[in-house]
């Protein structure tokens, strides 16, 4: 690389050591989550803390997923733990999967159509894409307050449809910008050639452009799915028990005032974040493009 050698070469070992230290710090919180998730109950809050348990157990995962294990555990504890450990995380995973998938589908579908329209017709004028982007600047909580009122009017509070609509709208700017950056890379000449052969513009879009940006659309879908799966604020404020997402379930276990369920909350944390980490690495190349709205491509 061209810039090789701008740092003195004697420091190579030091540089590698710095990189290793940064890698260790990046991994430490994940390590702690995983390590705590397999600790037996006695080691959850021991001091000095147990870094790697010698008696690994799956009990914490059983408490998360199986209501009878949770009840057994709650019976051995003093106080009213039942409300926190009762119920199975399967419901949260199911609800999150359903809502995230549906919202991702709608967001990418609407986003792709809009992106094509903006890219090829300049619909909405030259400032329209930037207006979309500015929507991402509003703190969601400012929109949530009136949305609670709107949803109560439309009977959408605590429903799947309500969250799907909210998630679709709030990932649309990402979908539009990211897909647009892929469509912009396809030369218009290709569609022009197809139209010379008698296709309408919409047919040319479907048969020529769409297949060429298929990979980009898939990356966008995975990216939007990660955003939906990770979303917390809407799930917290627009539901009240009937619909539960994994993020709300995690928060339920942590509950700042009496967080003594370390093993259980670590198990729930580890299992809820694993799918999105896997998806994240699948689209590693496109992550930067997504998080910068298609403006920066990864080196």
């Amino acid at each position: 690389m061209a810039v090789q050698g701008i740092l003195p070469s004697w420091s190579t070992a030091l540089k590698r050591f710095a990189v290793l230290a940064a890698m260790a710090l990046s991994f430490l919180p994940i390590f702690w989550l995983l390590s705590t998730s397999i600790k037996p109950h006695e080691e959850w809050a021991a001091f000095p803390p147990v870094w790697v348990t010698t008696q690994p157990t799956l009990q914490n995962y059983r408490i998360v997923f199986a209501p009878e294990s949770a009840r057994e555990f709650a019976a051995t504890q003093s106080g009213s733990l039942d409300y926190k450990v009762a119920g199975s995380a399967w419901k949260a995973f199911g609800d999150s999967a359903l809502i995230s998938t549906a919202a991702t589908f709608l967001s990418v579908l609407f986003g792709t159509l809009a992106a094509y329209s903006i890219s090829r017709f300049g619909t909405g004028g030259s400032t329209y894409p930037l207006q979309l982007l500015s929507l991402r600047m509003f703190p969601p909580i400012a929109v949530v307050v009136p949305m609670v009122a709107l949803f109560s009017l439309l009977k959408l509070t605590d429903t799947y449809l309500g969250l799907i609509i909210a998630y679709t709208a709030f990932t649309l700017p990402f979908s539009i910008w990211m897909v647009r950056s892929f469509i912009d890379e396809v030369p218009t000449e290709l569609e022009g050639a197809a139209m010379v052969h008698g296709l309408t513009q919409f047919q040319a879009f479907l048969r020529v452009t769409l297949p060429l940006v298929r990979g980009g659309i898939l990356a966008t879908a995975l990216f939007v799915f990660i955003l939906n799966w990770s979303e917390f604020l809407f799930a917290l404020t627009l539901t009240s028990g009937h619909v539960t997402t994994v993020t709300v379930q995690v928060a339920k276990y942590v509950s700042a005032s009496s967080g003594t369920l370390y093993g259980v909350q670590a198990a729930m944390g580890a299992i809820s974040t694993l799918p999105v980490i896997a998806f994240g690495y699948l689209i590693q190349r496109h992550l930067v493009r997504g998080l910068t709205f298609g403006t920066v491509k990864q080196a």
């Binding site: 400012a142 513009q201 700042a256 930067v288």
Partner: protein, 310 residues
């Protein structure tokens, strides 16, 4: 249009009636997205304009559209609410500290990755792990790391040589530290990737020329590389600044804004006001102020963009 071929040939080859008019297709394609955004963005904004001049509380039993009109009392109240102004200033402080730390660490790391070495890709793969984690789970992990019996206190115990079981999250003066660290841990990787992209996509001839002319590394970095990468670096700072301004998930999990109101950000202040104290009208007024502030912030940005030609 640089494409002479399709533009000039098409009208003769394709009969005009088989070509659908251009504008309607463009509008038809954008309609589903536009309608969704109108429902979820415009409608709530209109509702805010009504709610902020009422004292609506969902617990009082009246419907929001029948709430009592109280004029601009909410805004007057906000103006004298120390909790609101404190939350605003605290949010700005968190943005400056987090984005500053993220940028410095990211720049330092990116400089280590400019040349090629055997396990470079693996190292990048591990370094970007934090940004893949669900924010709620990142906060969950930091909640355990900074517990009074957690590993952070264990390390401090070993360094000090005496037991150290400090309850970080229960101390109004120090509870922001784990919050800031969780945020920096999670988002430095994105900053790192952006800075790295900015520095490696530079035109190389200028750097090569400077190296061959014997310029010092520091001079090359500050006089050539950083100025050339400035657009990407500014974009990175802007994106992270805007995202950090909305900070909610990590504070909710770690402290819920407590102890007292010592760690309340603007978002947490509004959440507590609306969903703990149920003062929706009052919070709607705060939300309106934030929306106006964001729009005022966007206008100079748009000017800047136009001056630089998009």
């Amino acid at each position: 249009m640089s494409t002479i071929y399709p533009e000039s040939l098409m009208p003769e080859l394709a009969p005009p009636e088989s070509r659908p008019p251009r504008l309607p297709l463009g509008i038809a394609l954008i309609l589903p997205a536009q309608l969704t955004l109108l429902l979820v963005v415009l409608a709530p904004t209109l509702i805010i304009l009504w709610l902020c001049v009422t004292d609506w509380q969902p617990t009082s039993g009246t419907a929001w559209h029948a709430a009592e009109y109280i004029g601009f009392y909410n805004f007057q109240d906000l103006f004298y609410d120390r909790r609101f102004t404190d939350a605003l200033l605290r949010t700005i402080l968190v943005v400056l500290v987090c984005v500053g730390l993220e940028f410095l660490i990211a720049l330092g790391l990116a400089l280590l990755f400019l040349d090629d070495w055997p396990w470079r890709r693996l190292a990048i793969g591990v370094l970007i792990l934090p940004m893949m984690v669900i924010p709620v789970d990142a906060a969950n992990a930091f909640f355990m790391l900074f517990n009074d019996h957690g590993p952070v206190n264990h390390v401090i115990t070993i360094v000090l040589g005496r037991p150290f079981t400090y309850a970080w999250l229960a101390d109004p003066d120090w509870a922001l530290v784990p919050i800031v660290l969780a945020e920096v841990w999670q988002w430095t990787p994105l900053m790192f990737l952006l800075v790295l992209a900015g520095l490696t996509n530079l035109p190389r001839n200028q750097v090569r020329a400077a190296v061959s002319l014997g310029a010092s590394p520091a001079r090359i970095l500050f006089r050539i590389m950083l100025p050339l990468a400035a657009p990407v670096l500014i974009l990175a700072l802007l994106i992270r600044g805007i995202e950090t301004f909305k900070i909610f998930d990590s504070i909710y999990i770690l402290t819920r804004g407590g102890p007292g109101a010592a760690t309340e950000s603007l978002s947490i202040f509004m959440y507590n006001g609306a969903f703990v104290y149920f003062r929706i009208g009052y919070i709607a007024a705060a939300a309106l102020l934030v929306l106006v502030a964001v729009i005022l912030f966007c206008i100079p940005l748009d000017r800047l963009r136009r001056r630089h030609g998009g």
